[in-house]
């Protein structure tokens, strides 16, 4: 039995999850990473993707997050997501709406740097769309 640690998933609006977990997979910007207990203190940005949480009770939950960052300590892991939805509640329309909004932002962006950043975000969103909702 692996050691358990505190996992918290927080969105600006509320605390979504605060439970003991044994294993959490985070879609970090530089690639997916799995957090186990006693992880070295790490701070990482998170891209849109799926977070998989294996709870200490053995249950596995999945959440879709839209960017944010994670604060990992040996004793716990806090994921601050800009928006987070349980996997079961996600549907094509909400995702598509987000993609459309980002597309509009890309077109409205004035600075080059900003535009590149948004385009990157858009491609991550589209990836996510393809991955979790196969046509």
């Amino acid at each position: 039995m692996a050691d358990a640690f505190n996992f918290e998933l927080v969105s600006p609006e509320r605390l979504l999850v605060s439970e003991k977990a044994t294993e959490v997979v985070i879609p970090a910007t530089l690639g997916e990473m799995t957090v186990l207990a006693n992880h070295a203190p790490t701070m990482t940005t998170v891209k849109p993707g799926v977070v998989t949480v294996k709870l200490a009770s053995g249950q596995t939950n999945q959440y879709v997050v839209f960017g944010g960052f994670a604060d990992i300590l040996p004793s716990g892991c806090t994921l601050l997501a800009e928006a987070a939805v349980p996997m079961s509640e996600i549907n094509r329309e909400t995702l598509q709406k987000r993609i459309d909004a980002t597309k509009a932002d890309v077109n409205a962006a004035t600075s080059h740097e900003h535009k590149t950043k948004l385009e990157e975000y858009l491609s991550q969103l589209t990836d996510l769309h393809g991955a979790i909702l196969p046509a």
Binding site: V10, P12, E13, L30, M43, T45, F69, L80, E82, T110
Partner: protein
């Protein structure tokens, strides 16, 4: 001296007003609870964000290449005042106290020869400030149509602020809102959001050194600072919302009580007058009978 009929009408009208204020008080109380819950639910995110950024900015203090959202533009000539008020009135001194604070701040800056730009959030503040600072108001956001205040609304405001900042439209941004202390006390507050300021906790420095950053410290900071602006605005909006209902509740409570007092007074003079009339009629009848 008003006639009996006039008094009766006035009592009826005050009673009707009292019913309305009583209903508004109860509605405000129900909404206040929800607004307070929302403000409370948003706290963990803001706290964590603040902690992480305080660590990062402590590590970046004195760094010449620190992002401009943290270090500032190096000037403080142009000030942006983000004034968040309510959409509606009938909330006692809620709107006016925020507006007064913002106005004093603006006048002080103008007296120092600085340029002031104002972004109003909420209809009330916009209406009032437009009278005295017409040229200074550059934008206006309203949540009139919004039923449930969410992060999306705060993000919208943050977008505007950040876009202005990136275009070099201002150097310092200050946010005005009412901090919710309790149902009867809301404090108008000004807090600087750009350049960002953090309360650094004592323990922060020790743990910050051990962190591994992915991708890099600088990148994370650049990613988080704009988010922090949105979070700050979100918090201000939620606090404002709770404050608004708190202020409305106590204002309506007062109004209901005042109406009650007024009804008592009016009923008293109504009864007195009725009694006087009866006495007068009796005297007339008796003196009429005696004359026979």
């Amino acid at each position: 001296m008003p006639s009996l009929k006039d008094l009766k009408n006035r009592i009826a009208s005050v009673k009707a007003t009292q019913k309305i204020t009583k209903a508004m008080k109860m509605v405000a109380a129900a909404k206040l609870r929800r607004a307070q819950e929302a403000a409370e639910a948003a706290r963990p995110y803001a706290e964590r964000m603040n902690k992480v950024l305080a660590d990062l900015s402590a590590a970046n203090a004195g760094n010449a290449e620190a992002p401009r959202l943290l270090a500032g533009t190096g000037r403080d000539q142009v000030h942006l005042l983000v004034v968040a008020t309510g959409e509606r009135g009938l909330a006692g001194g809620f709107n006016s106290s925020i507006i007064r604070l913002a106005r004093e701040h603006a006048l002080k800056l103008l007296a120092e020869g600085k340029t002031v730009k104002i972004l109003t959030v909420g209809r009330k503040g916009n209406d009032v400030l437009r009278r005295s600072f017409r040229e200074n108001i550059i934008d206006y956001v309203t949540f009139r149509e919004v039923k449930q205040l969410g992060f999306a609304q705060a993000d919208e405001v943050a977008h505007k602020v950040l876009a202005l900042f990136n275009e070099g439209e201002f150097d310092v941004a200050t946010l005005f809102y009412a901090r919710f202390q309790s149902v009867i006390s809301q404090v108008a507050t000004a807090s600087q959001i750009i350049p960002a300021k953090f309360e650094v906790s004592e323990a922060a420095d020790a743990s910050a050194a051990l962190y591994e950053y992915e991708p890099g410290e600088q990148e994370i900071l650049e990613d988080l600072l704009p988010k922090n602006v949105a979070v700050q605005i979100f918090r201000a909006i939620l606090e404002n919302n709770a404050s608004f209902y708190g202020a409305q509740m106590s204002a309506m409570d007062n109004a209901t009580r005042n109406a009650g007092e007024m009804i008592n007074k009016l009923t008293l003079s109504y009864n007195r007058q009725r009694q006087a009339q009866i006495t007068k009629e009796l005297i007339e009848i008796i003196s009429g009978a005696e004359a026979l």
